[in-house]
């Protein structure tokens, strides 16, 4: 199987077709890590580049991300923990008192597209729920959002709760939302701030590369 066909199908956002190709590849005894690294990830890289160049737009990018996610659901159990490209697990949610979720959902889809196992815990989540989810899923990335200035401070409370639970160092924390700024992210002790759903993945990738 020519793995570049997988990339092309991913860029075209054909989810069902892509999943079939990935399943066939595994049946043909192609190493799952190769399917990921030589098929899916180059496809998503191309999507990212096309988007930045203004050749692809949100609905197209998200279709590709969704296709990636559906194929990853199949492929992930077959990958070894140390396979490059197995990005890890992300918890994402909207803080207590806030029921706005479109920005967070867009970000979640983008991270799924980047190969993360994303657990979207939803809207109006208490500090404890965030902490419990981080513990339970042993995630390495936590994303939070708030649209309201009234709920924004809750993101800082969640970070404090992570500290109290002794698991702050386990996760990289990224935050976003219309009233949120980089300065605010620093103030509350978040690691990263993304001004929009689209840039979140790149910002995270760059940060983690520099860290390692």
């Amino acid at each position: 199987m020519d793995l570049s066909n997988i990339s092309e199908t991913l860029i075209a956002g054909k989810a069902d077709e892509l999943r079939k190709m990935v399943e066939e590849g595994v049946k043909e005894n192609i190493n799952p890590a190769d399917i990921l690294n030589q098929g899916l990830l180059p496809g998503m890289d191309a999507v990212g580049k096309k988007w930045k160049a203004g050749d692809m737009f949100m609905p197209e990018v998200l279709r590709s991300a969704k296709a990636m996610s559906i194929s990853m659901d199949f492929l992930r159990p077959l990958l070894k923990d140390d396979d490059v490209g197995n990005a890890g697990t992300m918890i994402i949610g909207t803080v207590a008192g806030d029921l706005h979720d479109i920005g967070k959902d867009l970000a979640a889809m983008m991270f799924e597209g980047a190969g993360y196992n994303v657990i979207n815990i939803g809207i109006d989540q208490s500090n404890e729920n965030f902490v419990d989810a981080v513990k339970e899923h042993k995630c390495n990335l936590l994303g939070m959002s708030a649209l309201l200035t009234t709920t924004m401070p809750r993101m800082g409370e969640v970070i404090n709760s992570l500290k109290e639970a002794g698991i702050r160092d386990q996760v990289t924390v990224i935050i976003g939302g219309a009233p949120v700024t980089e300065e605010f992210a620093r103030e509350i002790g978040a690691d990263l701030y993304a001004p929009n759903a689209g840039s979140a993945v790149d910002i995270t990738r760059e940060y983690l590369q520099n860290k390692n």
Binding site: G97, I102, T149, T150
Partner: protein, 482 residues
């Protein structure tokens, strides 16, 4: 005697035909019957359970006859009185009024040119400008008081900042039901008691659902409080086409109307006759930057269509104009603000808000408020239409002046030229004069006028005793939430 005459006393503009509005209305009824909405509030769920609505958990579906019945009970006229004691804001069909938007977290700092958090003082300054500028009929806070002692009680402090600078009627946001109750108590103090407030409300409560079809606890609390006290309120869906609503304008209008009608039924169940105003910031999600656009031409088109729907339903309309996605007051800002200001005005929406909004609803700018004053004047001059009575046809005058005459010195000109729009900021000078006057740009003039107004305009001060009483309500709220 002339028979069967039609005289256009204003210009006319309409997007949707009656048949199209019917299509959208029936579709919205279908949405509420089939898809329903989510309600996160126990008392509201109880009200729906006691009615013919079908409630499963937080999910509520409503049969059309409940909506049709409820629609018969909404007032078609609401009149607000500012603290200046003038009943100036007449919210009724085809009467257009302009006002600011509210709660912008950032402000364009006029000294540094940088973006920073909005403060109490910024809100008071915006209040002063709105009080001074005649085309603003009502005031929303423009910015949010980011330096309030506690975000959970910011609304009381924000109302104080607004009252200090502005004597006009207002539209207020609130944190939750408790916050709105405090604002109402403060309003009653200003107007001279609960009964006076009922006849002369000072403000309309701004409330919004979350698209698609979600009604969160705080929004419903506020709605039910408004219904209980017969406090004027608006329920304003903010769908982003393509993200939280269908990517088609028709689909977005259907969903937005369904969201409105859910509140129409809920308020009716709580207390028939609630002065509820229909609303909507109906626009799209930019598919490159995932921002909620305030400058898209689709906002103008969808908003005007929404106003057509409101009139057909006999509901009052809270619409949107004078806003932009531009980060600074530049050519983009002028183009976008003018476009949505113009079409919202022509559509005949009753309250047009968000005038002066920058950076897709995140950045406040006092200069933007001042520039929009000029643009509102221009738009209104267009909306006047053309008088064609004998005096205005001027047949006698044309005969009197004759071929090769002049009109500058005629009495007719002296009487009528004042009907024209008088620019304060537009420059119509000749090149040499413009150069002699310093070659100023529009922005230069806007900046000067903003500074001049802030330096010279003094709003009627708040009575000291009243101010103290109002502050007590805010302090009590701070104490409860500390």
């Amino acid at each position: 005697m002339k028979m069967n005459q039609t005289i256009n006393k204003s210009t006319k503009f309409r997007v949707l035909s009656d048949d199209q509005i019917e299509q959208i209305f029936y579709a919205a009824l279908e949405v509420l019957e089939r898809t329903g909405g989510m309600i996160y509030h126990e008392e509201a769920l109880e009200l729906f359970r006691d009615s013919h609505a079908v409630v499963k958990g937080n999910h509520v579906r409503v049969p059309p006859y409940m909506i049709e019945e409820a629609l018969n009970f909404y007032p078609r006229k609401i009149t607000l009185r500012g603290r200046n004691n003038v009943r100036s804001l007449h919210i009724q069909k085809d009467t257009v009024t302009f006002g600011t938007g509210s709660d912008l977290p950032f402000t364009h700092d006029r000294k540094t040119g940088e973006r920073r958090r909005t403060t109490y003082q910024d809100v008071t300054n915006a209040a002063k400008l709105v009080d001074a500028l005649s085309h603003y009929d009502f005031f929303m806070s423009h910015g949010i008081v980011g330096d309030a002692p506690n975000p959970q009680t910011y609304d009381r402090h924000q109302f104080m900042a607004m009252l200090e600078g502005c004597t006009k009627p207002m539209v207020l946001t609130s944190v939750d039901g408790e916050g709105l109750e405090d604002l109402w108590k403060m309003g009653c103090l200003v107007q001279g008691g609960e009964e006076e407030f009922r006849l002369n409300p000072l403000f309309v409560a701004y409330i919004e659902p979350i698209s698609p079809l979600k009604n969160d606890k705080t929004a419903v609390e506020k709605l039910l409080f408004a219904a209980k006290k017969k406090l004027p309120a608006m329920y304003t869906p903010c769908p982003s086409s393509g993200a939280t609503a269908p990517a088609t304008i028709a689909g977005m209008l259907v969903q937005s109307l369904a969201e409105t009608l859910m509140a129409v039924v809920l308020c009716h169940l709580k207390s028939p006759g609630t002065p509820l105003i229909m609303g909507g910031v109906t626009t799209l999600l930019d598919m490159k930057y995932s921002t909620y656009s305030y400058g898209a031409p689709e906002l103008s088109l969808a908003s005007a269509a929404n106003t057509d729907i409101s009139k057909w339903l006999n509901l009052l309309m809270f619409s949107t104009g004078g806003c932009t996605d531009s980060k600074i007051l530049d050519e983009q800002a002028a183009a976008e603000q003018m476009m949505n200001l113009f079409y919202s005005y022509l559509s005949g929406a009753n309250l047009i808000h968000d005038v002066g909004y920058m950076d897709h609803g995140t950045n406040a700018s006092l200069e933007s408020l001042v520039m929009n004053e000029e643009m509102m004047g221009m738009v209104k001059a267009f909306g006047k239409g053309i008088n064609t009575d004998d005096d205005h046809l001027a047949l006698e005058l044309i005969e009197k002046i004759g071929p090769a005459g002049e009109y500058v010195t005629s009495g007719h000109t002296f009487d009528h030229w004042k009907e024209w729009f008088m620019p304060k900021l537009q420059d119509r000078s000749d090149y040499e004069t413009w150069k002699q006057n310093g070659s100023k740009t529009m922005l230069d003039r806007v900046k000067e006028r903003t500074q001049h107004l802030l330096d010279t305009y003094e709003p009627e001060p708040l009575d000291e005793k009243l101010k103290k009483e109002l502050k007590e309500i805010a302090s009590a709220a701070d104490a409860r939430h500390s």
